[in-house]
Amino acid sequence: MRAQTRTKSLFVNGSSLHIKLILCLGASLMFLAVENRGALTLQRQPFSAVVEPIRQAVSAPARMFRWFSESSATHFELVSENQRLREEALLLRGKQLRFEALQQENIRLRGLLDTTFKVGDQVLIVEPLSINVVPYENLIVVDKGSRYGIRMGQAVVDGNGVVGQVLRVTSHSADVVMITDPSHAIPVQVNRNGLRTIAMGTGQTDRLELPYLTSSADVRPGDLLVTSGLGGVFPAGYPVARITVTPSGTPGAGRFSASPVAQLDRNRELLVVHCDSTPLPRIPDQNFPSYPTVTSNADR
């Protein structure tokens, strides 16, 4: 018996092992080179066939628990939540009335200025799968993929502000990279004075850095940063973060930092924004698309 294991182990220690090693190493490095250029994304599909059932299975107990806790909520809780939601809906409808009037006015004024105006994003509701990916990398896996028309690079927002953008898509799920990921940068502008800059992720879910602002820039704590629309990934005007820290008087004393307004660590529903790239006509026609339109399948 001992001799048998010996021969077996001699066999795996043979030269075929080295050939396999070199082949596998070469293939891995080749994949890495291709991935770094972002050229191919389809090669993930066969592996995601293995991974998807596991992701769904891991996410299932948490979803069951949520469903259970929602369906066993007391009558009183449901009534009070209903009341709250009704009030919120009324409030939002009131704002919407003003918004539509302002939108028409904006289009008219831009028509006078002879510029085109882009508005009318469509959104798709997705839910994050409750799985952990990697601790120091800020990714969320969501439950809809290319079957629902999600594409790479689309912006993802929640009820409060920008969450991130779609990094990778498979047929049944998508990886969303958050704005706080260290490799992510988002073009923003200060809502108060229109000052444009770039907000970089830090790896902590409550902090963004603004390294390209000089310390004398007119930015105060509490200022809202909104997407500037430059770069073409994020549509303009979505809130991103609020300034928390400004460097004290002396130059080089520190950097501006901001905390994201989106609830990055506890969202249940996210919206994937389908940015409409065709400019609207300056004279609004009658069947003007309402904003925002929730569609079940925005395959465009």
Binding site: M1, R2, Q4, T5, K8, S9, V12, N13, L17, K20, L21, C24, L25, A27, S28, L29, M30, F31, L32, V34, E35, N36, Q43, R44, F47, S48, V50, V51, I54, R55, A57, V58, S59, A62, S130, I131, N132, V133, V134, P135, Y136, E137, L139, V141, L167, R168, D175, D181, P182, S183, T202, G203, D265
Partner: protein
């Protein structure tokens, strides 16, 4: 060693099931405070199977497993594939001397392998990410080495159970 008893090696079902379980444990939702300590169960299982069933799990299996791990954890395709290939190769080279070592020494070797693997993943990472990595990045290798005796015990038990049926 289980391989010595039956000669035929562990059943394929047992190996596959353990890998599926490893993938589940890799992404299981545990509290955020605990999550950074979650060890790389797939790498531990890979070390176990290359040690005890080299005729079933070799370098190519390790590479395929690594590609699946890349997709599972949202990495660039090839990062874990590279790390797992190197881990499997090194482990296959020393497996005969490793089998006679006591458990603490084996754990130490596992720690070395895991550190090497994580180091390779970090090396192939995008530069911005590599810069933001703190000391906590290496915690899973430590917990992995501590969890090694557990993996060995569980896998031996599972191996026996699947053989009997």
């Amino acid at each position: 060693m289980p391989t010595d008893k039956a000669g035929g090696g562990p059943s394929l079902v047992c190996v596959l099931l353990s890998f599926v379980l490893g993938m589940v444990l890799r992404i299981i939702p545990i509290p955020a405070a605990w999550f950074p300590a979650n060890p790389d169960w797939l790498a531990l299982l890979l070390v176990y199977w290359t040690l005890n069933a080299p005729e079933r799990v070799g370098v190519v299996t390790a590479w395929l497993l690594g590609l699946i791990a890349d997709v599972l954890t949202g990495r660039l395709l090839g990062q874990y594939a590279l790390a797992y290939t190197v881990i499997a190769y090194l482990n296959l080279r020393v497996r005969l001397s490793l089998q006679s070592l006591p458990m603490p020494a084996q754990s130490l070797w596992v720690l070395v392998l895991l550190l090497l693997g994580e180091g390779l993943v970090l090396w192939t990472q995008r530069i911005e990410l590599a810069e933001s990595v703190r000391l906590i990045y290496w915690l899973p290798t430590l917990t992995g080495a501590l969890a090694w005796p557990l993996v060995v015990l569980a896998m031996r038990g599972g191996d026996r159970a699947t053989r009997r049926s």
